[in-house]
Subunit: 460 residues, 4 copies
Amino acid sequence: MRVQPGRSAGRFAEATDGLLERLNNSTAVDLRLWPHDLVGSRVHARMLRAVGLLSADDLAAIERGLEAVEAEFAAGSFALQPADEDVHMAVERRLTELIGEPARRLHTGRSRNDQVMVDSLLWLRDDLDRTVQDLAHLAGLLLERAEHALEVPMPLYTHYQPAQVGSVGFWLVSHAAAACRQLRRATDLAARLDECPLGAGAVGGGDLPLDRALTAHQLGFARPSPNALYATASRSDLLDAVALFASIGVDLSRLGEELVLFTSPAYGFLRLPDRLCTGSSLLPHKRNPDGAELLRSGGKLAAGEFAALASVTSGLLGGYSKDLQHDKALLFAASDRTHDLIALAALHVAGVELVPDRLAEACAPALAALYLADRLVLSGMSFREAHHVVGQAARVADETGTTVQGALAGVVPPALVTLAAELATARTPDLLAGLRTAGSASPESCRQQIVELRSRIALA
Amino acid sequence: MRVQPGRSAGRFAEATDGLLERLNNSTAVDLRLWPHDLVGSRVHARMLRAVGLLSADDLAAIERGLEAVEAEFAAGSFALQPADEDVHMAVERRLTELIGEPARRLHTGRSRNDQVMVDSLLWLRDDLDRTVQDLAHLAGLLLERAEHALEVPMPLYTHYQPAQVGSVGFWLVSHAAAACRQLRRATDLAARLDECPLGAGAVGGGDLPLDRALTAHQLGFARPSPNALYATASRSDLLDAVALFASIGVDLSRLGEELVLFTSPAYGFLRLPDRLCTGSSLLPHKRNPDGAELLRSGGKLAAGEFAALASVTSGLLGGYSKDLQHDKALLFAASDRTHDLIALAALHVAGVELVPDRLAEACAPALAALYLADRLVLSGMSFREAHHVVGQAARVADETGTTVQGALAGVVPPALVTLAAELATARTPDLLAGLRTAGSASPESCRQQIVELRSRIALA
Amino acid sequence: MRVQPGRSAGRFAEATDGLLERLNNSTAVDLRLWPHDLVGSRVHARMLRAVGLLSADDLAAIERGLEAVEAEFAAGSFALQPADEDVHMAVERRLTELIGEPARRLHTGRSRNDQVMVDSLLWLRDDLDRTVQDLAHLAGLLLERAEHALEVPMPLYTHYQPAQVGSVGFWLVSHAAAACRQLRRATDLAARLDECPLGAGAVGGGDLPLDRALTAHQLGFARPSPNALYATASRSDLLDAVALFASIGVDLSRLGEELVLFTSPAYGFLRLPDRLCTGSSLLPHKRNPDGAELLRSGGKLAAGEFAALASVTSGLLGGYSKDLQHDKALLFAASDRTHDLIALAALHVAGVELVPDRLAEACAPALAALYLADRLVLSGMSFREAHHVVGQAARVADETGTTVQGALAGVVPPALVTLAAELATARTPDLLAGLRTAGSASPESCRQQIVELRSRIALA
Amino acid sequence: MRVQPGRSAGRFAEATDGLLERLNNSTAVDLRLWPHDLVGSRVHARMLRAVGLLSADDLAAIERGLEAVEAEFAAGSFALQPADEDVHMAVERRLTELIGEPARRLHTGRSRNDQVMVDSLLWLRDDLDRTVQDLAHLAGLLLERAEHALEVPMPLYTHYQPAQVGSVGFWLVSHAAAACRQLRRATDLAARLDECPLGAGAVGGGDLPLDRALTAHQLGFARPSPNALYATASRSDLLDAVALFASIGVDLSRLGEELVLFTSPAYGFLRLPDRLCTGSSLLPHKRNPDGAELLRSGGKLAAGEFAALASVTSGLLGGYSKDLQHDKALLFAASDRTHDLIALAALHVAGVELVPDRLAEACAPALAALYLADRLVLSGMSFREAHHVVGQAARVADETGTTVQGALAGVVPPALVTLAAELATARTPDLLAGLRTAGSASPESCRQQIVELRSRIALA
């Protein structure tokens, strides 16, 4: 019978069926946890030594062995064996080959159930760091480009209809604001990962005098997790991470749609350089925005992973069940994709070129409507009346092919005809500069927004 | 043509189609926002007065009118009209009926796009408060019952197989730990709701000299949201809330499965009082745990709402689109259900009765395995060898119908036969009390866990 | 103790807790099943009579009673009682009030588990009929409008980039093809609903000599469901229906996006009449395509219901569990929305107006690329070379502001200069009429498509 | 500049960015389509020859080349190049290397948009065949084991509570019924794949005189797809397939839960042989049902893929967009997992051992309740009264520790005391054999069910 370190050879009379062994084997997914598995094992061994469950010699052998294993992983020379059912067993198997007996003492007071959770949390901590950096980089890039486009007018849309005049810079800042918000979520989540599961054992703790606080502190956690059953059975922190990735995905998906639309001939506001375009196998003239489309669509996928992870972790009895094994495949898929998508977004933000003529042209006269209504309000008219009057002007403008500004004089009460005539000269830069509320699209407000968001990035 | 306050009568030549009007109408969903809409309107009006856009008389009229509207809502006498397309329009329509002209000045500098977001965030802030209270109540109840069940043995399960000895108290504490973790998430999320969208306007801010910081502070936010486009278009805070509800649901779903199983004859650990049972229409003997089943299943539903909300908010251009209207139906469904499920969980935790005999009986001898292995480790054997030896004993015990303890002497090396004989007397209370790690199932550790979790609840 | 027909008063010593009773009560959702519950009960009673389990007098009383109940429902005068936990119990309770003793014999040989399934399948059969009709109506409308727009040119898009010349008619036919495909799915699904669960009892059949084949035939099924456990526990037919609704939703969501874009100023191909537009509370000039947006977004929601239904019906033991109760809320939500969305789509298809100038203008010269490449192929050039040559011409056209046709002569091999010069005169109608493959956008092909799809509608 | 066959070298002045190229590259996912891509290309080339667009020599060269490519794939020696962005381009690139010029004529009249759809449908047709076979094999195995277990009593559960007496055979038949239903769905879906997209071109058909009917027939389709836009843009058939896999997953997930529970000590009805068990790294006595857990959890995952696929294919304009590229990764993941899970289910069905003592023991007296009530009904009592009386007996039995049968005499009306006394002797085999309805758990009925289901398998 082939040795299977994951199960006691004493307990079983026949080997695991091949299909089950294959499906049960998670190394293809969890091998990436090796750095975290090694650091967890090192700290665990030191704690075992500190409480007298390991001799100094055994610890020395284990530390030497773990270094050798690390070197193999780092060099890409670590050789997986078919019977290595997960990264933890692979590491222990190799350690045993390298140092013999002392390796058989490493799993003292530890179960794979707490081990996999500590590995996962250590991995997630690193991954959230990377996420914060990625988001900060993207936000920084957005703000940098925004800074040079604060006076490039651009229609702002609601309901996919031009609503008012904004600027390319304001639009870019809105995506930086989104990235900064996600960055804050990532930071909050990382801060919550402050409880160390290692030492919780299989489900209910153990009989050995472990010092879990020592383990926790050496691994950078604030404290051991308070309840061994919850520590080994819950995947809610991982679900949080998938929710975060799904939320980032939603933001990027919107950026993707905007890039797809704004680079299409219908809008024509932006142009992708050739390096961000792909071609068509049949249609020779095509310059396709595949990257922007992947941003739009890729950002939708993590919601499916959220639904799947919630489903497999629901309705389960007690401590660890094999069902939970799916957590990592779902989490890693969402994470990998998110890092790629943020990088893809950054690539587009950096590379896309503005087409100022098309932008200016699209800031059509109707976009003055809010401006006109607000001017009427400042002259004392109630907002609802102003709204009605300007609405009429818009309809007249539509029907007669003139501008709202131009049509206004014909629909205002006599007392306001002079004001209306004055407003008829309102032009796009006036409209943009006339914005006065905090957070608005005016260049002045946008400059303040950039300062504010940069300070948030700096704090992250 | 019937008046439709949501659209400028000046702009349109015919009324909205009936089907579209029905589908576009969201009052059935958003009417619950009335308290938040009223407070938002009151603060907005005061701010308009502070910056000189409203006369003192108009403000007085508006405040009087809003009070009257509030009284109607509170009394249940507010009469919706068919043309009230959402709560915001219903309030403004009624206000106009009550006070006339000044009401037409209230919407100055405000769009439904920022208004609906501030209403939603105010609602969510309240709802998270309620969620925190609900969770604190549930956790408190769990700890209270746990306190009296720390020495009632209960098997702990991994893979749905008995793994080691724990206690009913430890199990209950694990659910309190889950509730405390969700409570922390809810608190983090509420703390992030510190930016006020009101005054962001339709999408890009406005031309009037609003004081958004004043509005923000009076509504209890730390500051205005920094970018008007992001403030009106993003639903990521609401998505966060749905993720939170889905995560709470996963925890409750697991409690539900446990209650269903533990109250079933196969386990028989718990008994539901008649008031928590339902019957069968055909099978007269049945006592069905419908409540526990609803906990298990209801907890799975919010993941579908998460997927739906992520999908509808993805891939959209720019500012507000009607697509976003679905946010509230999804959010409110998830929230309502979650409050019900937490209450249902509390009802079961408070009402369920223990069946100590069945619990004791289930703490079968095989549950001593970890204890035995750890004793061998303390005698100097390596963990892997101890694991192998006890595994053999378990197999012998299975095959011969004896206990693992009893079988141990036959499989240990000669030097350990005396120790093995001594261990053969290990009984359930020994096993439980022998647990020594922080977070373990021992009564002593559980008492510390209860203290720790109570301090977390007190802080919330 | 208040009487609760759903549970044996003999079995329980106290009433159900109020919260549990509220959550357990499904009448708000399942009351719409009353017509199916009544027909099922009538057929069940007749079968009981046929096998001698009911006297002729009792059957007569039951039939009279059911008619009276039906009349109450039809008149809207049926009075629900708080203790009516579902539609089945409400009907039986009322029947008992009306006819007394014989009503107590109606549930003989029947459980709510088989009853709710037969009601659900009867409802679904009706609902699929309605779905088929709705889809046929929509498809018919699409084809009718298409017929009059086969020669109105319109760009066809891939990657949101203009790809080749098509027509408004061809575009409309593509949506009719989608509707016809869904219609076929609906028909297939309805045909699979040919097994009658009634008489399967609670989970394993019963001891009474029921004639399930008689019941099945009288209710329009081909046969009784073969296995009582599967018949009462599976919800896979309902899941199929939700999948169908989600799939229809995807199609309509795409139509919604197209309507949103094509009616936006950026495209300007279509114009919504005022009755299909809504306005803005702040921006007086806006004409928002809320209906089209609701089509786009509403079509995404049923996927969440699919995920939720799959999740709650997964991982359950044996026969009916209360978890399954969620099936109807999810199914009905998906169905109701789908019927509304199909009607909304039809409303838009019927009402939208074409803007031929903008359409023609958008059929820009680059759209000749495929045509040019194919002409070069017909002259003997390999397709890849033609693709390369026309690609070059497109780039030159881009850089010099000319047309691809015009640029072609400059890049073809000398032997083809004459052909290129001839092709330089290709105009939009040539391109459209030049399409020759089956299923293509040429008017001739579209006419055949219309004939073909109409024959499919006629068969449905 | 490196050659990129997917885009016209003539069109672009710089190479695609590395990150975009990596994300755009789908060979890791779609390489498995090579057999379908080759057969599609062969048929396409023959059709081009038939309509005179290819010379006999060129066709001969292409056919020879495709055979060589096929041999390379079959031998595992096909060498992917970094610039091969998908399987289609890889095949064409290699073909060009092998045969030169004629290869450049193969893509005549074909786009990747129709090519990828025909490849996908050909693949799906094969995969549905395999699914049907897998399901037939599983159902056959279930029926075979069922046949030998028709008289092994087993409690049937509703609400996870024992409801009535059934048999292991009846339970197994219920899963065979589920598999047969899925088999029918798979067959229906396969039958709907009767329209061939090849020749639809990029989005609107082409200018060349292709014979799409010839292509369709040679590829085994009934006809060409009717509308080129719909044919290239819709993924609803693939969504159907994912829905099917999700539905199969729900069934298997339930089987998984049952195997987990029935092999747990709490139930103890079944025992897994060692080859279907895994062990614990910490707890030496554990025999974990990892395979059954993977069945339960794996079956939940495809619903996430359904939600993701619906989301990415929703809300898109017109023809092919890059967003659709995600279809195959989602479909293949769902398919691969489903095949594995069906095999895993078969492995467990074949290997699991019955524990008749525990099964018999669990068929506790209370399970006679339905039997008793039905006997009272046959004696003339109304069902509701019988239900009440037996409910009382069950309560008395609970309180006094006797059986329902035994308690019955104490609660029936005097006239029925004799009957009650007679019923007191009812034993499990009586209860089982006494079932009389079609589809019930009686051995006789189960034998008919087996015959019926076998005939369905034979037809598939």
